[in-house]
Point group: C2
Chain length 420, copies 2
Amino acid sequence: MTPLPFFRSRWVPAPAHVRELGLDAGLPGGFRAAGVAAGIKVSGRPDVGLLVCDSQSPVSAARFTATAAPAAPVLLSRERCRLGALRAVLANSGCANAATGRRGLEDAAKTQGAAALAVGVDPAEVALASTGGISHELPVDAMLQGILGARERLRREGDSDFQQAIQTTDLFEKRANLELRLPSGTVRLNAQCKGAGMISPRFATMLCFVETDAALAPETADLLLGVCVKRSFDRASVDGQLSTNDTAILMCSGASGVAIAPESEDELRFGEALDALLRALAIMMVADGEGAGRIARVVVRGGDLDGAEAAARAVANSPLVKAALHGGDPNWGRIVQAVGGALGGRAGFAAPLAVDVTIEGIQVCSAGAAIAYDEPALARAVQAGEVEYEVGLPGDGAETEVFFSDLSHEYVTVNADYHT
Amino acid sequence: MTPLPFFRSRWVPAPAHVRELGLDAGLPGGFRAAGVAAGIKVSGRPDVGLLVCDSQSPVSAARFTATAAPAAPVLLSRERCRLGALRAVLANSGCANAATGRRGLEDAAKTQGAAALAVGVDPAEVALASTGGISHELPVDAMLQGILGARERLRREGDSDFQQAIQTTDLFEKRANLELRLPSGTVRLNAQCKGAGMISPRFATMLCFVETDAALAPETADLLLGVCVKRSFDRASVDGQLSTNDTAILMCSGASGVAIAPESEDELRFGEALDALLRALAIMMVADGEGAGRIARVVVRGGDLDGAEAAARAVANSPLVKAALHGGDPNWGRIVQAVGGALGGRAGFAAPLAVDVTIEGIQVCSAGAAIAYDEPALARAVQAGEVEYEVGLPGDGAETEVFFSDLSHEYVTVNADYHT
């Protein structure tokens, strides 16, 4: 079976200077990875991953969940690591090590120390990332066995195993091996990513690891990752649920010898590629959202930024809108309902709201009132795999977007019929 | 089949001075009602209801949805009616007359004028309430036929027909006929209510009409309705979706001759009964939530009021918590996730959040960390029809509650497989 092209969504075309390599192309120079099964997942599938940057002077950047209840690995990575100069990532699935208190922090620290010893770096250079069930204690012994096993298997082509080790309910791989033609030379950009449920637009519930052999200053890496995360994982919702463990890490080995200078054409092109990479991954997470059969983008224009943002997230997280999306039902009254509910009582959005609604280019509502439209054409349009809703608010101050999945029987099955 | 007692939830015991009358006891003195089928609903079931107060000096109060996109009947009732002295309500199901613009307002006004003529009152004394699909034009001719038919059938025992005429996806009747023993005498208190989907804690998506033969000053009626709506419909969520048409109206005929003086023992007792009535109705709406099989109450204590409110609504509207509730799964990690997500970035809730979680009296999480508990006992407890979650936040400033339903396959079926 030929794998789908990575840039498969109409919402993220591949930039002209970006070429997709095969998924067996291996990691960029300066990186090795591995993934092994250590018995943390009940299924026996891979669950401990190790990613190492062998550069003399590695550069990195990281972003974490905005939750008030972060998991132990997030707290430890954020507070104890040199996030601008990471040399390794220890990741596991099958246990989130969240809501585990001081014990969880201590368990995470043990694995951080073990991973540092195993790969010969400082513990502060090892970031941690966990995903899986909340409230369970991390099985430290299994983690240590996994670290030992992974160390033996570290290799340039280990990204596929690493990918397997970070997945949970994902139905398909979310990874990319890209080649970027920059003015100063050709560089590589890889990513391994997981995420299917507990995905919120405030920061998708996911892990994402990005490697490049380009050389970036720490400030550049941090700036680019921050901007691109805001335009990708921060714009994706499966169920509006903010996780305890979201983590995105960019690591730069510099092995290509191509340096990305600040405010250069190289930086612009590299940023474009990173942006497209993360946006495509975010849309893949939504498309693999638990039970998802159809995905959508809502674009809100007008009003102020807070209002537009509230409206877009209300539409994306409305179970009524999502159920209609699932059913292939052009029930745009639910869009009006969701927008009205989000903006009720807000200054600048007096009732009755003069809202416009357009679905797949067909306008159905003007200034808050139904208008005549081609009903058969709309009925056909909402049967597509990707559906676009546009919402216009009074005023012209803002524009925002959120990608989201539908609400299906399978979502209920995954989240209700499956017991902890 | 014996109807269930009205005060059936452990969360709302019947006040000692309140007695349930049979559902065939009829309306309080001074009221007549009717409901007829006018062909607005495709099913052919009753869809136009008329409620009339024959008092010389009627007193009333009303509350409406907080949406920025209110339906035409809400706009017209709120802006053009004498809400403190209503003599009639014209209600319909099968069409919400929402997102219908100026045409919708004109259509609503026509029916208001017709109803006023039919019952011999001023149009400003006729409140309008509609429920059904959004974006469809109100079939005015059918409404006028319905008004004529209902006028012929107005009677003291018409509350059952009126109830039928306001229902949509409701699976059971939500109405009560109560008798209140007050210090100054005995009065009646009736209600007819509908609501099953698009129910949000900011004001449940519902219609509720309450009649009493007690005599209240307009200020007293408004004060009591406002307080009791905040403690009932404003605390209920099926799907977190704020509707375009929510309406609650209290009408007082004074026919009993018992006057409720401000700040009297009568007012206290009447208020208690109204509070219990509306809270029980709100819980019934949640229990009849689209697809609901199990309902829950989340109580959040501590923090500040905004934080507690955000946390309670996040839990009540979390599809993950709701799916676990449906599956009878004590997955309390999702409670921590929802609370953490809601409070992330808020002042006063620094990470890691020291949150406590208790389910059905069994504490499972202390200061953000799992603790040992009786797992078989908890597994049994979450199989009950009503499940209570308690969340403790740092600090002791606030306490709030939200009632909510589970997320089931039936919810998806009702909202996705059913096409507009």
